[in-house]
């Protein structure tokens, strides 16, 4: 028998087929090519499987044959371990990278679209209330919001991929946005002339915006689901790799034990090296993934969840503010029956948004959830500030409504958009918005740090696992080859 090809430092990749294909019984080769075809073809061809099994059985009767089989199996196991570990970890690592660099930024963009639209609507109604000559900063705010929304829509559109729900939401927003801005311009033009028609246009624009906000919310939810899916791809334990790794280690230990019993030699260097390489990969896999998973879980629990709640809270506060303005714009033009009593449609909306934002007291609802999700003082502080200002806002709103209900429209207007010394609700709203913006920035940072930690824990793992496994397999083959050479 000849084994020279395996004596050298043959790379373990080709080592496998070589060992199986080269053996000197050409008639029993599992491949249909060669002499086996003409020999066995006449009555009924035997399957390659049964031929292979026969061959193995024959080989297993001699020690070199057994050794060859053991070598092949060991190399196969170690390579398989490396391959599966690389595959599973590159998938997880790619998903973790997606969380950090693709789906979370997209989810953030979607939240920005949603928020910009709500903010634009609020700015439009604020400017309208101020009269024909809108304050420059309100116009700027509106323009900036519309710009942000259309820019981010373009990004979202480029990244929506094959998701039909996102694409539909984006298409809808792209169609409605110019319609909305058109209506706002008409509202402004009429308001500038002092015509009540401007208010009717603003209400129509506001209605249109509600449809747009629904679509934006849909997009935001889709993007969040995509983010969740990336998390789900990044965090599960690589069980297949762990299983095969354990198996490979077990087999290596067994082979060395067998070797020791047969030869009384304690160490076979090749097999020891293969064991060490496999153990390192397995350990790296376990620790690396556990750390990565901890980081990612942390970024979800303390980053993404907080961000979602804070975004919802910010949008609820924007909607509440918009409706507070619209109550004064519409001046009773639209009502809705609650029980038997007709109530102003926009004031009802305001109440329901404020309820969502802070519950009955101002400290429950979304803000309450945000406060309980904030895991450190720096995160809790802006939320607490928002809660305080929501309470102020509610008090001030009551006063403004009181003025309006008693027939003092001017007084109500001052309490809503007036100068700072009038304690307008505008001030409270701005404070809530600023506080929530700070909270969002902080949580975004928290998310980023934790997710980076998670992703970095996986850095090098796929490549490392592959390289080590190849080396390990080579070592195992070498080790077995060393034993085989004794039979020459």
């Amino acid at each position: 028998m000849t084994y020279p090809p395996n004596g050298g430092a043959a790379p373990p990749g080709p080592a496998l087929p070589t060992m199986l294909a080269i053996p000197p019984q050409p008639g029993a080769s599992p491949a249909p090519a060669g002499p086996s075809g003409p020999l066995a073809a006449v009555p009924s061809r035997r399957t390659a499987w049964s031929e292979g099994v026969d061959r193995l059985r024959t080989a297993a009767t001699t020690e070199p044959g057994r050794l060859r089989i053991i070598g092949a199996v060991l190399a196969l196991l170690v390579v398989a371990f490396g391959a599966v570990a690389t595959w599973e970890m590159s998938e997880r690592s790619a998903a973790a990278d997606d969380v950090l660099n693709r789906s979370q930024p997209l989810s953030r963009d979607a939240a920005d679209i949603y928020r910009s639209l709500a903010d634009a609507n609020t700015a439009a109604s604020s400017g309208f209330l101020a009269g024909g000559q809108e304050p420059a900063e309100v116009i700027d705010r509106y323009e900036k919001d519309i710009r942000t929304a259309s820019e981010k829509l373009a990004t979202a559109s480029a990244n929506s991929g094959s998701d039909p729900a996102s694409a539909a939401a984006i298409a809808k927003l792209n169609k409605l946005l110019p319609e909305y801005t058109g209506l706002i311009e008409r509202a402004r033009a009429n308001n500038r002339q002092g015509l009540p028609l401007g208010g009717a246009y603003l209400r129509y624009a506001n209605d249109k915006m509600q449809t747009m906000l629904d679509a934006a919310e849909q997009l935001y939810k889709e993007e969040n689901e995509r983010l969740r899916a990336d998390y789900d791809d990044a965090t599960p334990y690589p069980w297949a790799a762990i299983g095969i790794g354990a198996l490979a280690l077990g087999a290596l230990v067994w082979a060395q034990r067998r070797n020791y019993h047969r030869t009384n030699r304690v160490f076979n260097h090749g097999l020891v090296a293969a064991t060490a390489a496999s153990a390192v990969v397995l350990l790296w896999l376990l620790v690396g993934h556990t750390v990565a998973r901890a980081g990612l879980d942390d970024s979800y629990d303390h980053g993404v969840r907080s961000l979602n709640v804070l975004n919802d809270a910010r949008i609820a506060s924007l909607k509440a503010r918009g409706n507070e303005n619209m109550t004064l714009v519409s001046r009773g033009a639209e009502t809705r029956e609650v029980g038997d009593v007709p109530k102003d449609k926009f004031d009802l909306e305001y109440q329901s948004q404020m309820e969502q934002l802070g519950g009955a007291e101002g400290s429950t609802g979304l803000l309450g959830t945000a406060a309980s999700l904030a895991d450190d003082a720096a995160g809790r502080e802006p939320v607490a500030e928002a809660i305080e200002n929501v309470k102020d806002w509610k008090d001030r709103h009551k006063k403004a409504r009181g003025e309006d209900d008693s027939g003092n429209y001017e007084g109500a207007l001052k309490k809503v958009i007036g100068a700072r010394d009038q304690d307008p609700t505008d001030e409270s709203f701005e404070n809530v918005d600023d506080a929530l913006e700070n909270a969002l920035e902080y949580e975004q940072q928290e998310f980023k740090l934790a997710a980076q930690d998670g992703r970095n824990a996986m850095t090098g793992l796929p490549v490392g696992a592959a390289v080590l496994a190849v080396l390990g397999a080579a070592a195992a083959v070498l080790g077995i080859g060393r034993r085989l050479s004794e039979y020459r």
Binding site: G131, G132, Q133, R186, N190, N191, R192, G194, L195, P196, L197, G199, A200, Y201, R203, Y204, S330, R331, G332, A333, E334, T335, R336, E337, V341, P342, D344, D404, D405, S406, G407, N408, Y409, E410
Partner: protein
């Protein structure tokens, strides 16, 4: 066989389930129907509010325009107003030329034809520079606001109808109007007639206009219904509808905001606006009627000149409707 039996019994249960679902749906609809109908709030002065038939069908010896004879004497209600020193009036803030707020005027005071009348009444009761508290009342809150005593009176393009007389008292009529068609000047619609065929016509939800269009739409598409009559002008300007039906006074208010539209044809119903007050406030009703007697002598025409004469489709000069009295 077993399978067949199972299937047929399933089919039986399916039928029962389907019937149960149908019953449940019917019940839900039955419950929701009155709700959805009631929700159609009218809002900004769309006049009729769906009860205007009373104004035309004067069958059951109800003459809605007939009010109490005028008297300059103080009664308990007038004295109450004098004692407290201010008059609370329910008005509209969105009806251009009738009652609205100009955002560009520094104190953005309410102004319009209705507001002029309020000033006249308040000055008569409380003297010069009276303290008036204007309250914006949505259309469907006009009657509750009077009944609850939230306001002393409502001066808000409110049509006098027999149905409303069950809840509130009206002054003598101070303005005559009727449902009218509003369309772009270059439109081939000429009024409430067959030129409306296949046109899209807008009306306010649960308004007299909606009722009239339901009775006879001349083949128009009347599916566009909006919360407020002014929303119809928005739809008209955006090209979503071809014409608007609302009462003439408010159509005039719309035409005044858009020089490219005008009133088409004559009013096709007859309605009168009145000042609404509490039913029990007899002395206040007589007092307001007294004010109107004087008001009709010249101030009315001046106010008309100020607010309505220049509106395309409105007569250059007009006279107030003659008062009718029931006692």
């Amino acid at each position: 066989m077993l399978r067949g039996r199972l299937r047929s019994s399933l089919r039986g249960w399916g039928g029962v389930a389907a019937m149960a679902v149908a019953c449940a749906l019917t019940a839900v609809f039955a419950l929701l129907l009155p709700l959805t109908q009631a929700r159609g709030d009218g809002s900004t002065g769309q006049g009729g509010q769906g009860v205007a038939e009373g104004a035309q069908v004067k069958a059951d010896d109800c003459n809605p325009e007939a009010s109490l004879r005028p008297s300059p004497n103080d009664g308990p209600y007038v004295e109450d107003i004098k004692k407290r020193g201010y008059l609370t009036v329910g008005v509209d803030q969105n009806s251009y030329r009738w009652g609205y707020r100009d955002p560009n005027k520094s104190e953005s005071k309410l102004e319009g034809f209705d507001i002029d009348l309020v000033h006249a009444i308040a000055e008569e009761i409380l003297g010069p520079e009276p303290d008036i508290r204007f309250r914006a009342v949505p259309t469907n809150q006009r009657i509750p606001a009077i009944k609850n005593g939230d306001v002393d009176m409502v001066v808000r393009t409110m049509t006098i109808t027999c149905d409303r007389l069950d809840d509130v008292a009206f002054s003598t009529a101070y303005f005559k109007t009727g449902q009218q068609v509003l369309a772009p000047k270059n439109s081939d619609i000429t009024g409430y007639n067959k030129t409306l065929k296949d046109k899209k016509v807008c009306s306010a939800k649960s308004s007299t206009a909606e009722d009239e269009l339901e009775k006879n739409s001349f083949g128009a598409d009347t599916s566009t219904k909006v919360p407020n009559q002014l929303d119809c002008l928005v739809r008209l300007q955006l090209g979503e509808v071809d014409a608007v039906v609302t009462d003439g006074a408010l159509a005039a208010s719309q035409a005044a905001q858009d020089p490219t539209v005008m009133l088409m044809g004559e009013p096709f119903t007859e309605e009168y606006y009145g000042v609404a007050m509490k039913r029990e406030a007899e002395d206040l009703v007589r007092r307001v009627n007294q004010v109107l007697v004087d008001y009709r002598k010249g101030d009315w025409q001046a106010s008309y000149e100020d607010w309505l004469a220049d509106v395309p489709g409105m007569a250059d000069t007009a006279e107030p409707p003659a008062p009718e009295y029931s006692d």
